[in-house]
Amino acid sequence: MVRSMRQTFGEAVYKIAKNNPRIYVVNADLKSSLFLNKFARRYPKRFIECGVAEQNAAGVAAGLAKTGKTVFLTSFACFSPAINWAAIKQSIAYNKADVKIVGSHAGLMSGELGATHQMLEDVALMRTMPNMEVVAPIDAIETEKAVRVLANSRKPAYLRLVRPATLTWFPRKLSVVIGKSEVLKRGKKMTILGYGPILGMVWDKVKDKDIELINCSSIKPLDEETILKSVKKTKNCLVIEDHQKNGGVGEAIASLILRKGVKCKFKHWGVEDKFGESSRDYNELWKKYILVKSL
């Protein structure tokens, strides 16, 4: 089934808000894109529209949070956390405000919008920030679960979403626990790690092979235990991400492997210090920039 992560997000927040009066949305002129029209109509007092001003939106969200609200700060990843990173650092993370930064349109998947709207640095920006949890769901099902978990965590967090609707690949019951990774498929010859819908594409290619597939949707904190256990077993590791290699999760995992002295092969597929470009089909972009060869 094909479902949109951002639509699921908008619907999930609407549903949660019904029984949780703490939930507020602070938006920067992208309510339609994040499917928040229904929320804005039903809860006008809990929907704060800041206009195209992401820095202010981050500060307003933090102030609201300090009055006891749980605030979803919604925009595209290329604006929030990109434009307002310093405001997020000081007003949200350093001040420990209960704000969930929701960045849609992450990765090359923004397709025809081109380089300015393909956010390939957000994971690097957010995983280096203290007090910040980072979650990148693999599909719409996991997005809904993540929204529910984050709505109750009372801590700052970043939720990474993508633009197109994607297949909900996994028949299994995905659970979202911050700090836990889920083994989607067992195997012995290789461990493939990643996050977001690009992992779904990998699933299709490896389903009949002796390869272990791990969904690292909880990017920070990273589930070191599950990752190490698998890598020690397969001695062969590949990290795939729709993000710059620089600062990406691949680097976090490489550092983990080195620190723990695990001997294994290591490969990292991601964007190699480049800006993206327009394409109507994001699969073409993945082929061109992430070098998805045959597995």
Partner: protein, 266 residues
């Protein structure tokens, strides 16, 4: 008649202000440095806010947007018993909760800051979420060069945040020189008016004016901007109007003693 007499009579807060000015000087001297110029210019504003009886900070909110003015806020909070006065000597030292830039680890502080231009947004968020209470934000004039201030000014007007007060410490100086030289701010009052705010001009060292304006601003239906004209380095002749005292690195003992004398006799 009484109003006229007030102009010549000393306001009771002037004595407090003088004592806190000495605390501030001593604290920065003991620490070996700190942001003294702006702290001396904004101290009276914080004294008026906290001790002028217009607000109750058990419920109302104070946001220090210009986090480098931490020293002035710390001496006020210590005086009010939020933490022991003896702790002031630890200011900016390793392990101390009195961080060089203001921090929520200090009892009584609601917002950690240091990166300029962000506090008015945070204060607007508080004002939206706690409509029954007043939110007082203190910004510097220099930080009005940050675009985010104007983003917040738009929002406060859109949401008619009558419970929001922004006091601007207009001391005309910033780290590298005068605001006129670095980046002229134009007519701040007119800018705020055009953004839909109520604007008041006051002498930032006159407690009669300050307390009166604060009480009025509290009941305004629009957000209020109080432009408080202050003297950079107020109370110490050789620091006044000298931007090099934005952040003093090592205050010589000779100068410290002179400053102390001047404040005492001021």
């Amino acid at each position: 008649m009484i109003k006229m007499w007030n102009k010549f009579r000393k306001h009771p807060l002037e004595k407090v202000s003088k004592e806190l000015r000495l605390d501030l000087l001593e604290m920065i001297y003991a620490a070996g440095g700190g942001h003294i110029g702006g702290s001396l210019s904004s101290l009276d504003l914080m004294v008026a806010v906290y001790m002028g009886k217009a607000f109750d900070f058990k419920k109302d909110h104070f946001v220090l947007s210009a986090g480098h003015l931490a020293g002035a806020l710390y001496v006020v909070l210590a005086r009010l018993g939020y933490f022991p006065r003896s702790e002031l000597k630890n200011y900016s030292g390793l392990g101390s909760r009195l961080q060089g830039h203001v921090s929520i680890d200090v009892p009584g502080v609601e917002y950690s800051s240091g990166s300029l231009g962000q506090g008015l947004s945070f204060a607007s968020g508080l004002a939206l979420g706690d409509k029954k209470r007043t939110v007082v934000c203190l910004t510097s004039d220099g930080e009005h060069q940050e675009g985010q201030i104007w983003e917040a000014a738009m929002l406060a007007s859109k949401y008619k945040l009558g419970n929001l007060i922004n006091i601007v410490d207009v001391n005309n100086y910033q780290i590298d020189g005068s605001t006129d030289e670095i980046m002229p701010l134009g007519k701040l009052g007119q800018k705020y008016i055009s953004f839909g705010w109520t604007v008041k001009n006051v002498d930032g060292h006159n407690f009669w004016q300050l307390t009166k304006v604060l009480k009025k601003a509290k009941n305004d239906e629009y957000p209020t901007c109080i432009l408080a004209r202050t003297i950079f380095g107020k109370g110490v002749s050789f620091m006044q109007y000298d931007w090099r005292y934005h952040d003093v690195k090592k205050l010589e003992e000779r100068l410290y003693l002179r400053a102390k004398e001047e404040i005492k006799n001021g």
